[in-house]
């Protein structure tokens, strides 16, 4: 606003013609912009619920009993019918096959191979060993409390 008035005062000839007529449009545009804001917020709130955050998953993972069968069926789906009988030794060198298998297993079992261990998954056997390990989400104190303690040891965790 100060800049506009300075320009207007300094050079009167052209800028009055330039800024005179559209200036009213600018001001009227500002006045018009304030009014529809009230109506727009109501519409925006309705569009956003598509991006609702899904509930947090827990990190506990217990390997299911039919893990071998599930992995074998995934391998057969991804690699096709040309899977030898020693399906555990199939190599995962190819990026497409490795991604397909690991993504499928992760979606199936709800537990993905972390980035630090991806390079160790060379064969299907490694993937099987990874998924056979259960993972608990408990803290060390909860594990201690749950385990068998001698009668003269008490743990109070009041935090």
């Amino acid at each position: 606003m100060a800049a506009v008035s300075v320009f207007g005062v300094a050079r009167r000839g052209l800028t009055w013609i330039v800024l005179g007529a559209p200036r009213r449009e600018f001001w009227s545009r500002f006045r018009k912009e304030k009014k529809p804001v009230v109506a727009e917020t109501v519409e925006e709130v309705k569009e956003e619920p598509i991006l609702v955050c899904p509930p947090l998953r827990s990190r506990t993972y217990i390997p299911p009993e039919d893990l071998q069968g599930r992995v074998e069926s995934c391998v057969k789906e991804i690699f096709g019918s040309s899977v030898p009988s020693n399906w555990q030794d199939v190599s995962l060198e190819d990026g497409h096959l490795k991604f397909g298998l690991l993504a499928r297993l992760a979606d199936d079992l709800g537990h993905a191979v972390p980035n630090s261990r991806l390079h160790r998954m060379c064969r299907v056997r490694d993937v099987l060993d990874f998924y056979n390990v259960p993972i608990h989400d408990r803290s060390k104190f909860d594990e201690l409390i749950a385990s068998n303690l001698p009668p003269n040891l008490k743990i109070t965790w009041g935090y």
């Binding site: 606003m1 955050c53 990026g95 497409h96 690991l102 993504a103 993905a112 991806l118």
Partner: protein
């Protein structure tokens, strides 16, 4: 009206920017925009990234999931191969410490200054004769043992703590920091930093859902090409910081819990960091123009 004037002035006075770094990123962008991977448009086609630079024979590339920020559930969009010399080098914690302390200290100028006995006002005359008065002998009233006297060994003027570690040590520090982040599952690779909304709340909820941690460092390739949504979202948050690839440093990587790189950034970093392994010693400083500097 003022916004239009400001936009006009900004467009007219667009700065050329820092010549060296911008020139490097501008050269890198058209090279990195080569479609190395399958088109990431469809949900079924995975984004696979191969290492462009040669991997020495016994070592094999390390891998990481390529994620997407467009949806909460899009955590496995593809698979990226990372060069082992950059992302799986020896975990030299001593180099990390050296580089982090260097970053903290080389900019430091301490302005503390105290006056010595010569600078304190007064104290040119012997206060009483040497013998006869019964008091202890003194030469001036501003000596350090006097109250109000000068300081004997105090800080002297602005002191600079500037020093430079060798370039290869700083480069190795970056490589070790990236290795450590990947090894501790704090590194995430993203196909691009495009968000569906510019709401900061979306970014925080995404990080919470994927269990990234409290602080996230987002790294894009160049300052000009950052999507508007991520710029708006990150500017509204204190613990989510967005930097260009040339701004990556060990201190920031250690300060933030998670590091998020784009595929283009990974290519840029690999090229820049690996060049130092097999370069000649400079005949003149690298800040002067070279024909084959990456």
């Amino acid at each position: 009206m003022l916004q239009l004037v400001r936009a006009g002035v900004r467009a007219w006075l667009r700065p050329t920017g820092c010549r060296g770094l911008n020139a490097l990123t501008e050269e890198a962008v058209p090279q990195a925009a080569k479609p190395e991977s399958v088109a990431s448009a469809g949900p079924q086609a995975p984004v696979l990234r191969r290492c462009e630079l040669p991997v020495p024979a016994p070592r094999r590339p390390v891998q990481a999931w390529v994620e997407s920020l467009r949806g909460y559930e899009q955590e496995r969009v593809g698979l990226a191969e990372l060069h082992p010399e950059v992302f799986s080098t020896a975990p030299r914690l001593d180099i990390l410490h050296q580089v982090a302390t260097w970053q903290k200290n080389f900019k430091r100028i301490s302005y503390a200054k105290t006056k010595t006995r010569a600078e304190v006002r007064g104290g040119g005359r012997k206060p009483w004769p040497q013998k006869g008065s019964g008091r202890s002998r003194h030469g001036s009233i501003r000596s350090p043992i006097w109250r109000g006297g000068g300081i004997a060994h105090g800080p002297r003027g602005p002191t600079s703590y500037y020093y430079m570690l060798p370039m290869k040590v700083r480069v190795q520090g970056l490589k070790v920091a990236l290795t450590v982040k990947l090894a501790q599952d704090d590194l995430h690779i993203v196909d691009s930093l495009e968000l569906p909304t510019s709401d900061p709340q979306y970014l925080t909820e995404l990080a919470r859902y994927r269990r990234w941690g409290d602080s996230v460092l987002l790294v894009d390739l160049a300052h000009d090409d950052m999507p508007q949504n991520i710029v708006a979202a990150a500017s509204g948050l204190k613990t989510f910081n967005l930097i260009p690839a040339v701004g990556l440093n060990v201190y920031s990587m250690l300060k933030h819990q998670t590091l998020v790189l784009t595929l283009q950034t990974v290519a840029f970093l690999e090229e820049k960091l690996l060049w130092h392994d097999s370069r000649y010693t400079p005949l003149y400083p690298f800040r002067l123009p070279y024909r084959d500097f990456p």
